[in-house]
Each structure stands twice: as structure tokens, then as C-alpha cells.
């Protein structure tokens, strides 16, 4: 048996073991907060689906924009219609990798999520700081970062008095269970 064959076998073995460490979160939470002149705007989405492979670090999530809940129904309508243009762009997604952690290590570990974030039909390469903690067979991933509306071509309509901030704070929290 030569080295190449060994490598291939090892590779396959690794692939299989990676596959075994897959986690899923069906009710992940993504919320955002905007500091505005007249009224602060806050919304929570508790229906975010995500898959995470603890072996490879691969992480994906899909946010349905319509599932964001607001304090006022009018805010939600304006958010969906004017800012996110939900009929054209019903979803926001992330596809990438968590780096800088060891699966199974106890305690909170600092990680970076590196990949592509899609909002409002615009996809950007991003590096987002966050944490991961493995407890009781579950994995909890948390992150807090700022999103500039202009980066994702989200325009603030003129004539709107309750202007939303140009940069909003996004919080992500997923509790993953093994599949």
C-alpha cells in the first residue's frame, strides 16, 4: 500500500467522521436593533433554520424575512415593503465556516464565521466574530455584529420620518442539537 492510497483512505475516513458531527438548529434566533431619532426599532426572528458541521466548521443559515416580529405592525409592513422588498428578496442567508475552535472543548470559545452573507439580494464576503460553547451534547453559537444598510443596497426611503439608523446591530443565537 503506498502513501497516496493511505492518504485517500484517511481522507475518506475523515469525511465520514465529519459527517457524523452534524448539528441542526430549527428555531434559531436573529434579532436586530436600530437606534433612531424618534423611535428605536427592534425586531426578533425565532424561526431561523441552521445547519452546522462541527467537524469541518461549515455553517449555513436561512432567515425568512417575513418571520421578523416588531412591536408595531406598521413597522413590520414598512420593513418588509420598503427596506427589505420581501417580494423580491424573501430570504437572507449565510454560508461559510466557523474557524478557531475545537469540537468538544469545554467552555466558551472565541470563533470567527468566515463566509458569504446575503441580505436584500446582495452577497458579501464577511468575517464575523462570535463564540461557541459545547454543553450537554449541544452547541451554542452566539454573535453580535453591525450591518451597514448601504453595503446591502438597502435604501432609507425619503419622506419617512421615523428614520432607521444607517447601521444596525444584529444578534445571532443558535442552539444546535446533533442530528
Amino acid at each position: 500500500m503506498n502513501k497516496t492510497t493511505l492518504l485517500i483512505i484517511a481522507g475518506i475516513g475523515l469525511g465520514v467522521s465529519l459527517h457524523a458531527q452534524k448539528f441542526s438548529s430549527e428555531k434559531g434566533q436573529i434579532s436586530f436593533y436600530s437606534d433612531a431619532a424618534i423611535e428605536d426599532i427592534e425586531a426578533v426572528n425565532n424561526m431561523v433554520g441552521s445547519l452546522f458541521n462541527a467537524g469541518s466548521g461549515d455553517l449555513v443559515y436561512i432567515v425568512k424575512i417575513k418571520d421578523f416580529k416588531f412591536a408595531k405592525s406598521l413597522m413590520r409592513e414598512h420593513f418588509n415593503e420598503k427596506y427589505m422588498e420581501i417580494e423580491k428578496f424573501p430570504k437572507s442567508t449565510f454560508q461559510g465556516k466557523l474557524v478557531g475552535f475545537k469540537a468538544g472543548n469545554p467552555g466558551e470559545q472565541k470563533v470567527k464565521a468566515v463566509g458569504k452573507l446575503s441580505i436584500h439580494g446582495v452577497t458579501k464576503d464577511v468575517e464575523i466574530p462570535g463564540t461557541i460553547e459545547f454543553t450537554g451534547g449541544k452547541a451554542v453559537v452566539k454573535s453580535k455584529f453591525m450591518v451597514k444598510l448601504v453595503d446591502y443596497s438597502i435604501t432609507i426611503p425619503q419622506l419617512v420620518w421615523q428614520n432607521i439608523a444607517e447601521e444596525i446591530e444584529v444578534r445571532v443565537e443558535f442552539t444546535y442539537k446533533p442530528i
Binding site: 497516496t4 441542526s24 433554520g49 441552521s50 445547519l51 458541521n53 469541518s56 461549515d58 455553517l59 449555513v60 443559515y61 436561512i62 425568512k64 417575513k66 416580529k69 416588531f70 412591536a71 408595531k72 405592525s73 406598521l74 413590520r76 409592513e77 414598512h78 418588509n80 415593503e81 420598503k82 422588498e85 417580494e87 423580491k88 424573501p90 442567508t93 454560508q95 461559510g96 465556516k97 463566509g115 435604501t155 426611503p157 425619503q158 419622506l159 419617512v160 420620518w161 421615523q162
Partner: protein, 294 residues
């Protein structure tokens, strides 16, 4: 060996991106298809004079102030209509997301009116497909004019009442274009039999075209069916511009009627748009939310 390492690392990279793609596909497949309901088919609960399929969401209250000036063809003496004013003040409230009630007071014929609007079905796509939104509207209006001692002989209080029943059917065809059909029945307890009927059927059509995210053009026309030959009244027509600014909607309108309740604008519009009996006016709304929406 270098080549092997290089090609392996390229392969690894390709595999990792492919793995993420696979993971994304797996996530997409695991998600249940759900229903997307059309929303904001119109910006306001009124199109020009009449109602749209929009009802107020649960626990929201809307104050509407509607104002019509006199006809533009009144000339410079009337300051092209601006010297006169006809108003309606009203409140619309959402009992549930599908059921709204409203009350109002019109200066024309000193009329108080009340409505209920019930959303029978909502336009949707996805796991539940509905081609349009349908709303049932019922209303009653009570005329305080003429005063009791000025009323003709035999005129009783019950003669002051009129009713309206409407089916509002609308489709948001694209995010920028919505159309609405409004089959309508107006019943008036008392009419001048020679020129009017107690039950007047009408078919309304209307729509809106969005120009920007906050501005839209609107139009509305009610065609009366089987009108008595010597009726002095006209079909009502109106065009408008909707401007939305946060919690307000401003609607600037041009219409051939002064009335703001169906009895008045469907069955008793005396202006002729083509002759210049055009009233400039506006509807201004302010929405308030009670309690936290969950």
C-alpha cells in the same frame, strides 16, 4: 510532490465549498414550504373616496381626516373651490387582523356613518394559493339633515337611514400594481322615486400604481347599473396620489363628488368630471398602536 500538494489543496478547497453548498441545499430541503400572504395591496384603508381591501391590524387605531374643497370650476370668486370645505372625521379600529370597524361624521348632509370590514380571504402563494384578497363590507349611515321641523310632511326618522353592502376583491399583481373590483349595493330608505331607486347597484373598479417606495397613483370609478333615465346624478370618479411617511398616509385626490360615505358618492354625485366639477381634496391618516403586537 509540490504539484500533488497543490492539487490536493485546491481539491480540499473545492470540496469545502461544495460541502457548504450541500449543507445549504440540505437546509433548504428541510424547511417546510409555507404561505406568503400579500400585504400592503394598498397603502390606506381608502382608495380615493371608497374603501380598499385593507383592514387595520389587530389593536391598531387609525384616525382619518378627509377633506374636499368646492369644485375647481367655481372660478376665481370661489378661489377655484378652496373657499368651500366638506369634511369627514373618522376612526378605524382593528378588532382582529381580519375584522375592522369604523365610525365617522360627514359634514355633507350631516351624516354619521359606521362600517364593519371583514377579510374573508387573503391573497397568498406557497403551500396555500389564493389569487386575491376578498373583503366583505357592511355599513349604515344616518342623515341628521334636514332638521326635524324643516322636514317635509311624512318624513320620518327611519327615512334618514341608508345602507351599503360591498364585496371588495383585490389582487396585488406585482409589488407596484394592485387592482380592485367593488360590486356594491346601496339601499336608501327614502328616495325621490321619479329619479332614484331605493336599491342602487354599482360596480366599482380601482387600482394603484407605485411610483416610488412611498408614493403611488390611485384611481377609482363606480359605474351605476340600471340608472333611472332622468337621474340628475353622475357616476363617481377620482384620481389621487398616496404619500406614505412613517405613521401617516397623505392622499391627495381629485374627484367629482363631495360626499365621503357610499350613499353620497355612489348614488348622489352631482358633479360631472368632464365639465370641470372637480373637487380637490385630501385624506390624512394617522395610525396608533395599542398594546404590543406579538
Amino acid at each position: 510532490m509540490k504539484k500533488l500538494v497543490l492539487s490536493l489543496s485546491v481539491l480540499m478547497f473545492a470540496l469545502s465549498v461544495a460541502a457548504q453548498d450541500d449543507l445549504m441545499k440540505e437546509l433548504e430541503q428541510s424547511q417546510q414550504s409555507d404561505t406568503d400572504y400579500a400585504f400592503q395591496t394598498f397603502k390606506g384603508t381608502r382608495l380615493v373616496n371608497g374603501h380598499t381591501v385593507e383592514t387595520k391590524p389587530k389593536s391598531t387605531l387609525e384616525f382619518i381626516f378627509a377633506h374636499r374643497f368646492g369644485p375647481i370650476n367655481g372660478g376665481a370668486y370661489e378661489m377655484f373651490g378652496l373657499d368651500q370645505a366638506y369634511v369627514r372625521y373618522g376612526l378605524d379600529y382593528g378588532i382582529t387582523d381580519n375584522l375592522s370597524v369604523s365610525i365617522g361624521r360627514n359634514s355633507v348632509d350631516k351624516t354619521s356613518d359606521g362600517y364593519f370590514k371583514y377579510k374573508v380571504m387573503r391573497q397568498s402563494k406557497g403551500s396555500r394559493n389564493m389569487p386575491f384578497t376578498m373583503v366583505l363590507l357592511g355599513g349604515a349611515a344616518y342623515q341628521f339633515s334636514p332638521k326635524k321641523n324643516a322636514a317635509p310632511d311624512g318624513f320620518e326618522n327611519i327615512d334618514r337611514l341608508s345602507y351599503v353592502g360591498q364585496l371588495l376583491i383585490a389582487r396585488k399583481i406585482t409589488p407596484g400594481l394592485s387592482l380592485q373590483l367593488m360590486p356594491t349595493l346601496v339601499h336608501r330608505n327614502a328616495v325621490t322615486q321619479l329619479i332614484e331607486k331605493n336599491d342602487q347597484l354599482a360596480l366599482g373598479v380601482g387600482g394603484r400604481i407605485k411610483v416610488t417606495k412611498s408614493v403611488a397613483f390611485t384611481s377609482e370609478y363606480y359605474y351605476r347599473l340600471d340608472v333611472p333615465e332622468n337621474s340628475p346624478y353622475n357616476n363617481t370618479f377620482g384620481i389621487g396620489v398616496d404619500i406614505e411617511t412613517g405613521g401617516h398616509v397623505f392622499q391627495l385626490v381629485f374627484t367629482n363628488t363631495r360626499g365621503l360615505t357610499e350613499r353620497a358618492f355612489i348614488t348622489q354625485t352631482d358633479g360631472d368630471f368632464a365639465d370641470g366639477d372637480i373637487h380637490f381634496g385630501f385624506n390624512v391618516t394617522r395610525t396608533f398602536q395599542f398594546g404590543q403586537k406579538k
